[in-house]
């Protein structure tokens, strides 16, 4: 019953997966059937491109990257990420002289749930002195409950080098189910942090490269409803058998956080009573709770998602961050290249597929879905 991240790893594109019961289009257009040969050709060309370019291309001309010392108290780390407008930071251990891990929104969600959990040892005062390193030790016990395969050791840093191929970087991100991988240069005596790589950057490289030759990737013209990609509401597109997670705006924040943790999804669409899209709550929105120490005053099940989203909007306004559109959407008839261009925008990790006009939620396509499909 737990909604899972969609696995579009099924390579065979059979005809029956494209049947749509009711006529979804205004102009009754036949949905073009996706050719297996097109898929294979596109996948081959993308794979070739990714294998022949390196992570160095992901670095901007002059990029900024923020790291945290692992002895910082968790609470301070929370505030720093909030002030800097970032959601993820690598952790530096001065004692051993290397990077040892990453602090991510999931850590904060778990910490907040621990705070609210009366049976736990973690109190708000302890947050002042509880170092990140101590938290990561304790997290090992917590995540054993959620982690299917116990072989993933949270202390072990998953990183990549600047000379690694883009394909290796993408595979590392997918296989370890992480959103960010630090690019660290080990050429000198001290590891140098260069960049935080994510699938967004890799997708941007792909889009830039193939922008002028769209014909070389025939799959790009296909409407996304004809591609086994993403998670769909069961009636509309092909269902991968999993229930699609959505929440109302008056649901409690703790419900949202539970979904984000247990369902292994990184965002939950917030809908109204007609299932029309209102907003989206992502894991990275958790840092907005650092505003005015909101996390201290609230109990997670007393704060509604609507109130939590307001905090996020206020946070963007306070620090003058680019308050771009929060929910990026697309239609099911949109071609794949349009979806890829939108997903390549920095900060956009998923698109909500909506019905034109009513904005009723039909599905979600995330960067991970896209890459699993493109890399086969």
């Amino acid at each position: 019953m737990v909604p899972r991240f969609p696995a579009s790893g099924t390579p065979g594109i059979s005809g029956d997966s494209m049947e749509i019961d009711s006529d979804p289009f205004h102009h009754s257009e036949v949905v073009p059937k996706m050719l297996e040969a097109d898929v294979e050709l596109s996948r081959h060309r993308i794979s070739l491109f990714l294998s022949t370019h390196t992570a160095y291309e992901l670095l901007p001309e002059s990029g900024k990257v923020v790291a945290l010392d692992v002895t910082l108290p968790v609470k301070q780390a929370f505030h720093i990420l909030y002030e800097q407008g970032i959601s993820v930071a690598p952790l530096w251990d001065h004692g051993i002289g290397r990077f040892v891990g990453i602090l991510s929104p999931l850590d904060f969600i778990l910490i907040l749930r621990e705070l609210g959990n009366h049976g736990s040892n973690l109190t708000e005062e302890e947050l002042e002195t509880h170092a990140i390193s101590a938290w990561k030790e304790g997290k090992l016990q917590l995540t054993r409950k959620f982690d299917g395969n116990g072989s993933l050791n949270p202390r072990h840093l998953i990183d990549a080098g600047p000379h690694d191929s883009l394909k290796d970087v993408a595979l590392k991100l997918l296989q370890n189910k992480v959103a960010t991988v630090p690019i660290i240069s080990r050429d000198g005596s001290i590891p140098q942090l260069l960049h935080l790589a994510s699938l967004t950057g890799v997708l941007k490289c792909i889009c830039r490269h193939f922008k002028h030759s769209p014909a070389s990737l025939p799959i790009l013209q296909q409407p996304i409803c004809s591609i086994p990609l993403g998670t769909w509401v069961p009636k509309i597109g092909e269902s991968n058998g999993q229930p699609f997670a959505m929440l109302r705006a008056n649901a409690s924040l703790s419900d949202a956080l539970s979904l984000l943790v247990q369902a292994e999804v990184s965002a939950v669409p917030i809908v109204d009573d007609n299932d029309s899209l209102l907003d989206i709550y992502c894991r990275s929105d958790i840092t907005a709770l650092a505003k005015d120490r909101a996390y201290a005053q609230i109990h997670l099940n007393e704060l509604s998602i609507h109130q939590a989203l307001q905090l996020t909007q206020e946070a963007s306004a306070t620090y003058g961050f680019f308050n771009g559109q929060r929910c990026h959407m697309c239609l099911r008839s949109d071609p794949l290249h349009k979806v890829m261009d939108r997903l390549a925008i920095p900060g956009v990790r998923r698109l909500v597929i909506v019905e034109a006009g009513s904005k009723r939620v039909e599905g979600i396509i995330s960067l991970t879905d896209l890459f699993r499909f493109l890399l086969g």
């Binding site: 160095y56 670095l59 901007p60 001309e61 002059s62 990029g63 900024k64 990257v65 923020v66 790291a67 945290l68 010392d69 002895t71 910082l72 108290p73 301070q76 780390a77 720093i80 800097q84 407008g85 970032i86 530096w92 001065h94 600047p162 240069s185 000198g188 005596s189 140098q192 942090l193 260069l194 960049h195 003058g320 961050f321 680019f322 771009g324 920095p346 900060g347």
Partner: protein, 117 residues
């Protein structure tokens, strides 16, 4: 660091262009007298103020910074915040191949009862 070692070992010697020995007179200077300690240290060169580390990232965390000038590369900066503070930010800009990387590290401040950090 590794560069200077490399130059000493790998620079070929061309006749007539050997590096001259340092004059002996440069080795018998008197160690700095104590009156030098009373003077203020030399002023920081003005060009070092043009660091890009304090540029506001108004495009969000993904927005790139302007290219740092070559004169500020490989200098360690500390963030100016009023004391008392529990966290200090250290930053420096360096070049990696033909791109620039601006790294900021946040460290806790050791409280020892003294105002120096």
């Amino acid at each position: 660091m590794s560069n200077s070692r490399g130059q000493d070992q790998e620079t070929p010697v061309v006749a007539g262009f050997e590096v001259p020995r340092s004059p002996d007179a440069s080795y018998n200077n008197v160690y700095t007298a104590s009156e030098d300690d009373g003077r203020d240290p030399p002023v920081v060169p003005q060009h070092l103020q043009h660091t890009v580390l304090s540029c506001p990232t108004n495009g969000g965390p993904c927005a790139p910074l302007p290219d740092p000038q070559h004169v500020v590369l490989n200098h360690l900066y500390i963030e100016n915040r009023e004391a008392p503070r529990s966290v200090v930010a250290l930053g420096f800009s360096h070049r990696f191949r033909s791109k620039y990387v601006n790294v900021v590290l946040y460290k806790p401040v050791q409280r020892r009862g003294s105002s120096s950090t």
